[in-house]
Amino acid sequence: MSRLNLNYRSNIDSNARVNWGRYLIIVATAGFAMVAFAQLLNSYQIFKIGFANFRPLLFAFVLWGLAFGYAQVLIRGEAGKRLLFILPAIMYTVACVIFPTLFGLYIAFSDWNLSAFEEHHFNGFDNIRFLLKDVYFWNSLGNMVWYVLAVFVQYVIAFGLAMLLNAEIRARKFFRVAFLMPFMMSPVAVSWMVGKSLMEYRYGPLATIARFIGWETPAFFATPWVARFSIMGMDAWVSIPFIMILLLAGLQAVPKETLEAAKVDGASTFQAFRKIIFPLMLPVSVTAVTLRIIGELKLADIVITMTAGGPGGATDTVSSFIYREYRDRSNVGYATMIAEVYLILVIILVSLMLVGANRILQKYGDTT
């Protein structure tokens, strides 16, 4: 009897709660819309409220988010509470990634220039037309192909190092810490430590070694291919530890018994590697190379601080090119168009890569 009563009461309560939650969402949304409207009026000078900037809108969004979250708990109860776990991250990502990317599209179709006095205008496909004819853009895109290919060299070196670290050696911990060190270095610091001091033409130790070997003018950043290789080398120095750590973890997961069994059966070291270790390492290899290529497509810091794309654009990456387009010419509209086009290319490339990677893994799975 009492239990029925309780149910009845909680039913009324829950109905009231659900209604309250709905009201809350409506009120919060209306409030947010009002602030947005006021902000718009203010920015077009139609009705001056005295907002110095767009911050009120930001606060309104945060308040709306809080109200929305609370309303979810009111409406859905326990399910709403569970929703609260992922809601902050989703709202954050939508507000800070999706919205700016879409806003970027708006900028990309305008002649927005931060140093110009005139207002920016919508200029249709002018930016795209200009982009298609821009030699520097295609040049930087071509360079990206080389940088991405360099990842495979990094992978080979990292694989060798991981194998060595996985061998029966003393002081493994020391070597692991030492090999991981470059990963911790900031690219900007590396561009000084390696690029501007070790590779310095007159006194740098690397230049001295190069002279000793027989290269009489060891200028690491003067000719296109040498400069490109120097940048790749510095990038590899920072990136190899990342691949190495992933591969080492993969190697440690390879069951010792299988290798011992192969040894008993008389397999040579090379055969064991080709037939056992490498196939077993394929999944983690694909992960490592994929992640590294994604990282390589963002390469910018070392190039910006070291060569600024030179000599003659030989080391330019798309990111460093866009950076200069903004820094030197404040050409925000055009630079954003390049960035958005690049994003589309990256999405296509990475999707194809993931599909291809899945294919490789599946094919490998069928044959064994």
Binding site: F54, S197, W237, A267
Partner: protein
């Protein structure tokens, strides 16, 4: 959504591990001595390569630190080994106002340096803390509950978060520049923290979801039977257990934020500039003052060098989360 590319699937499965072709070749008879000689030779080779790569990895760091204690003549002569080849001096650190004899005197360079340093610390800790907080919550939700919004399921939400990693920073940089100008967030610590959180959030969610997946849910289920809500169970039970994963996520985020240059160069100018930006602006000046630069670079890499030595376990744990099972 079965065909959706998913990085989480690249794992060594038990079946693959067990079905392995072994190679049958007849073993040639080798004497005991030859085997031993072979082993010694291969050991020698292994240690040579290991030492070579240790030098490759550590020499630039060693060079930077020692150069900060060199006099101009030592730099010009290319002297390398301290005490043997040159007598360490405080010259580089003196120009920063950080040598023993100048540390108490007023120094504008030191104030500048310390402002940049603290700018880096604030941005790094703020962003890592924010990312670990909202990232852990999201990871826990995705690991434990089933969400459904129309056709969108957990897998799609995870993909939504993780796919952010492919976004090149340049795509966001210029819209942020314009938006921040209107929001008065340019050159503020908060502005930088918001951007950095974004760059490390996918990584944090990735690490923490793997962490939570590895913990059986019996404990929370028991707690929920006892009347704990999902949030109480999370805070009282899961947080303490998953502390190693949280530490790994935090440390790795901090490393990435500390080294970040691109956004800092675009979005800060005087007030909240970070250390990498200061370093870059010094390197691009024409007359490179080696000993000063070396001291600056040393100060910039010192915190992470210590992290690398003492917290290496956490970094490895963070990097390898989910890559290998």
């Amino acid at each position: 959504m079965a065909t959706q590319p998913d990085i989480t699937r690249f794992r060594i499965t038990g079946r693959q591990a067990l079905t392995i072709q072994t190679v049958n070749t007849s073993r040639s008879p080798t004497s005991h001595n030859m085997l031993r000689a072979q082993r010694t030779a291969s050991h020698f080779l292994i240690y040579t390569v290991l030492l070579f790569w240790t030098v490759v990895s550590l020499f630039p760091i060693f060079w930077t630190i020692t150069t900060s204690f060199k006099n101009p003549v030592d730099v010009l002569q290319g002297r390398v080994v301290p005490w043997l080849q040159f007598e360490p001096s405080w010259r580089g650190w003196r120009t920063l106002g950080l040598s023993p004899d100048t540390i108490l005197a007023t120094s504008t360079v030191r104030i500048e340096f310390l402002t940049r340093f603290s700018g880096s610390v604030i941005a790094t800790f703020g962003a890592s803390l924010l990312a670990v907080t909202i990232g852990s919550l999201a990871a826990y939700g995705l690991s434990r509950f089933r969400y459904k919004f129309g056709r969108i399921r957990n897998k799609d939400i995870s993909f939504f978060f993780l796919s952010q990693t492919i976004l090149p920073p340049v795509v966001l940089a210029l819209p942020y520049l314009v938006l921040y100008k209107h929001l008065a967030l340019l050159d503020t610590h908060i502005g930088l923290i918001l951007v950095y959180t974004l760059t490390v959030l996918p990584l944090v969610i990735w690490i923490m979801r793997n962490q939570f997946d590895s913990i059986p849910s019996d404990l929370e289920e028991a707690a929920q039977v006892d009347g704990c809500s999902s949030w109480m169970a999370f805070i009282r039970i899961m947080l303490p257990i998953s502390l190693p994963g949280i530490a790994a996520a935090f440390i790795l985020s901090a490393v990435i934020c500390w080294n970040e240059y691109f956004f800092a160069a675009l979005l800060t100018s005087t007030y909240s500039k970070t250390l990498p930006v200061m370093l870059a602006s010094q390197t691009s000046s024409q007359s490179i003052n080696w000993w000063t630069m070396a001291a600056l670079a040393t100060a910039a890499i010192a915190p992470l060098t210590l992290v690398g030595i003492f917290l290496e376990n956490f970094i490895v744990k963070g990097l390898t989360a989910g890559a290998v099972k």
